[in-house]
Amino acid sequence: MEGAQENPAESSSSVLRSEEPASGPEGLPPEESEGCARPLEEATPKKLCGYLSKFGGKGPIRGWKSRWFFYDEKKRRLYYSRTAQDANPLDSIDLSSAVFDCKADAEEGTFEIKTPSRIITLKAATKQAMLYWLQQLQMKRWELHNSPPAPPAAPDATLAGNGPALRLELEQEEAELEEFLCPVQTPPGLVGVAAALQPVPAMPSALQNISLKHLGTEIQNTMYNIRGNRQAHGTGHGPPEDESPPSGEPQRAEQPLPSDPSTPDAVDSPKPAPKSSLTANLIQKAKRQHNTFPLFAEGLTRNRTAQEKALALEQQVLMLTKELESQKELVRILHKALEAAQQEKRASSAYLAGEDKDRLELVRHQVRQIAELGRRLEALERERENLAQTASLQEQQVRELQQHVQLLMDKNQAKQQVICELSEQVTRNFMHPPPQASVPPGAGDRDFLSQQEKMEHLKDDIEAYRTQNGFLNSEIHQVTKIWRRVAEKERALLTKCAYLQAKNCQVESKYLAGLRRLQEVMGGEASQCSELLRQLTQEALQWEAREASAEVPELSPISEYDEYGFLTVPNYEVEDLKLLAKIQALEVHSHHLLAHEAVERPLRERWAALGELTPSVELKQLLRAGVPREHRPRVWKWLVHLRIQHLWSPGRYQELLSQGQVHEHPAARQIELDLNRTFPNNKHFTCPSSSFPDKLRRVLLAFSWQNPAIGYCQGLNRLAAIALLVLEEEECAFWCLVAIVETIMPAGYYSKTLTSSQADQRVLRDLLSEKLPRLMAHLAQHRVDLSFVTFNWFLVVFADSLISNILLRVWDAFLYEGTKVVFRYALAIFKYNEDEILRLHDSLEIYQYLRFFTKTICNSQKLMNIAFNDMNPFPMKQLRQLRTAHRERLEAELRELELLKAEYLEARNSKAPAVPEGCASEDEGEGEA
């Protein structure tokens, strides 16, 4: 009854089963299989297994194939084989990444297992079986994901237990796991170990059921089955068939019944029925039982395989054993009936034998008894009615509950479908990430389809883009190659152009020099020649302007200002000097062009490769060769920092500035006076809108407070200006100035007496005598004193003398190595022009020449080589000794001079009265002083 109500889908067998156990028209009745399976439930772990139809979409034989599916708890995979008795499974399915699906529109019982690698379409006998399978599979998957390393929990593996108690237990467990779909009752007979006892569902042809894909396994299994049949015990993967030994033939006739709760007889008659009816019943039953045999036999004969025959036989044995037991029970009942009849017989004979009185007594007693029994019967009748009423009420309730359950089940089914769809979508998205964000869930089927279509389109687009991308990559590669080659060519052409330009410059400068010579030789002679000469000179001077306007500007014409803002061609008004300046500018330009490729490029690369700056021999060499413009600010900052670490403190500069705002330093006036006179040939200092003069003012004022002993000395403005031009930030420039004055230069270099700087002129004279004796002899012969020009060099570190690109190179080395560099370059400048000076034999000419000769130096490479190679050895010790010696001598001279002065004054004072008139003015001067 219960089974029929709970499994409405199972139509055919349910009615028959509830009536009689052995009335199944085909195969074994479900109850029988239960009977076999139940003893095993406790002993072995419950198994998920059963027959399902698998759709084979590939191979020559398409269509549904019956397969025995079982879940292996140890291997955690769903295996399937052709029959339950097959030793080797055909294949297995990994459930961990599987997705289950049942299609609403498909054939009843059809569902799908989708794994990333394949889709398996399966069909269960009924919808319920399908749901059961799906649920179980989900549970297995859940287990797999929840406790992968732990051994599978035994109770989860539900078996085809049909008992109400077991079902209840199952329900509780499932209810815990499943919240969406209420657990489906195990479809009896269709799943579980018992299902293995069922014959393989009939197939149109045996061949169709054979798996061609797993032919090897098929053959193995066939062999195994044949062997198993011979041994009379098939031990497949299906149900373990360690059952009771086959029973004897005579017991077969007996039929057990009274204990069976499902038989109507047992329910209706708890007491033994009247003898006649009982026996008749028994006979009838026995007949029926016998009748099953032919049917059974028929079923047996129907089974084709030997295995199945053996199975049937075993079943028969089992059944006969049961029958024997029931026969025994029958005998027992008959015995009881006999006893009752004998008792009755004894009572009636006692009645017959008794007297009237006794008989009356007995009758009365009987009547009383009858009346009592009638009352009891009535009471029982009432009770029964009550019970029937409650029963009907409860039945109604049950029906309502069932309806409710059905409703919930339907609902859950729908939900599960949605889940299936979604999980399918998830796997699809997981395997092929969609180009867009995931499709919004809950969209309708049509929406979904259109999106899928869209996705297809997008996929096509992606493919197209991918191809395009590949093509474009190759295109980029090609174009880059071409571009590189063109750039190389261009560079080569530019180099060539630079060389040609340099050559042109040299030729031009030579021509100009020639013109100048001619002019000098012709002197003031007013002739046709001189007229022509003037004309030519005029033309030559105007070349530049014409070139600049006519030529392509790319070919690096001589620009008016260099990269630090200095005028490249000094702005001389005098014609003579103009020509000279032009020659010089041309020379510089040609050197610049030539040096650019050959010297500067590798240098630039070396500087670029240089990481963090640390004092080293390599750095010294690099600094001597000059820092490329882009690295100079950084390098100078580092160089300055090295020197002023002990003096530096944060906010010091601002402090000094604010100090300057409160009190005016006596030097402020002089600073102001010199601001506009600093580098009048540099656009940064002449341009009225430039911020440089203001910065310079602040730097110099701050310095006057930083070093009040020096305050301001003319020349410091140029040092600070160079620092500003390179470093740009005024605080950096300030510290650079501090570094030069307070750490690089000896004490007293810029002091009120300039002792140290004057001493250095004498040191230089000594060094020149040592390194360039011929030149010094020549100069001595013409009584030329060099200090008028060299004093400036030392005080402002060549800032007034050298052209800017050489000057900054000198500074690069100077900031690192100190004053030695100034000496080296001072010597080198004379060496560089030694021949030129030696050629001059007039002191005036030499003086004239010395005035501008530093500006004619344009080969910085040559000058550097002289300074750092030709002037070696250049020991610091010697320099120091010379310095101290000259300083002492100079100080002594100064003291002597003071003494002389005092003496002179004294003498004059004593002479004063004797001096006649005209000296009154002197007195006046005295008074003023």
């Binding site: 006179r677 003319q714 002091s751 007034d800 005036l844 005035r851 006046e924």
Partner: protein
């Protein structure tokens, strides 16, 4: 040919009064508003006719800032003339001028010709030193005095002409070259005396 007589002239005076500008105007007839302050010294020459002679001025332009004074003897020693420049707009520069005169009297060559130039006379509206003061002072020391403007080329030529006139003519027996040598000798003598 006229005899060329080389005359060493040095320029002295406070910083920023226009010594270099005067030289520049005289030698190159050019004026630059901002000339770099001279450090050490600068040397230029210019030849001008004077009577039947040619005077070649060897002009030594010196640094003006006070701390460079100690270098000055090198330039005024052996000089035939000294141009002492002051700025008519700055009283201080006139004081400095007096100091220079004093120093020249004490340590300079004995017969040095002194010429006083009151520069920047184009700025007479902000004048601080009256011409009268300068004239009186110049007279007292027997110096040439003239107000100049290097910017507007006023009295520059005249200044040097005045110096030329003060230079005593050469002994008619000696030629120009000898004169130059003589001057040179004088210079060496002077240096020995000073330092």
């Amino acid at each position: 040919m006229m005899a060329i007589r080389e005359l060493k002239v040095c320029l002295l005076g406070d910083t920023g009064v226009g010594k270099s500008s005067i030289v520049c105007r005289f030698v190159q007839d050019h004026f630059d508003h901002n000339i770099s302050p001279t450090i050490g010294a600068s040397f230029m020459t210019k030849t001008v006719p004077c009577g039947n002679e040619l005077h070649k001025f060897l002009i030594w332009d010196t640094a003006g800032q006070e701390r460079f004074h100690s270098l000055a003897p090198m330039y005024y020693r052996g000089s035939a003339a000294a141009v002492i420049v002051y700025d008519i707009t700055k009283q201080d520069s006139f004081h400095t001028l007096k100091k220079w005169v004093k120093e020249l009297k004490e340590h300079g060559p004995e017969n040095i010709v002194m010429a006083i130039a009151g520069n920047k006379c184009d700025l007479s509206d902000i004048r601080e030193v009256p011409l009268k003061d300068a004239k009186e002072y110049a007279e007292s020391i027997g110096a040439v005095v003239v107000e100049t403007s290097a910017k507007n080329a006023i009295n520059i030529e005249e200044l040097f002409q005045g110096i030329s006139r003060q230079i005593p003519p050469l002994d008619p027996h000696e030629n120009g070259n000898n004169g130059a040598i003589k001057l040179g000798k004088q210079a060496t003598q002077a240096s020995r005396r000073c330092c």
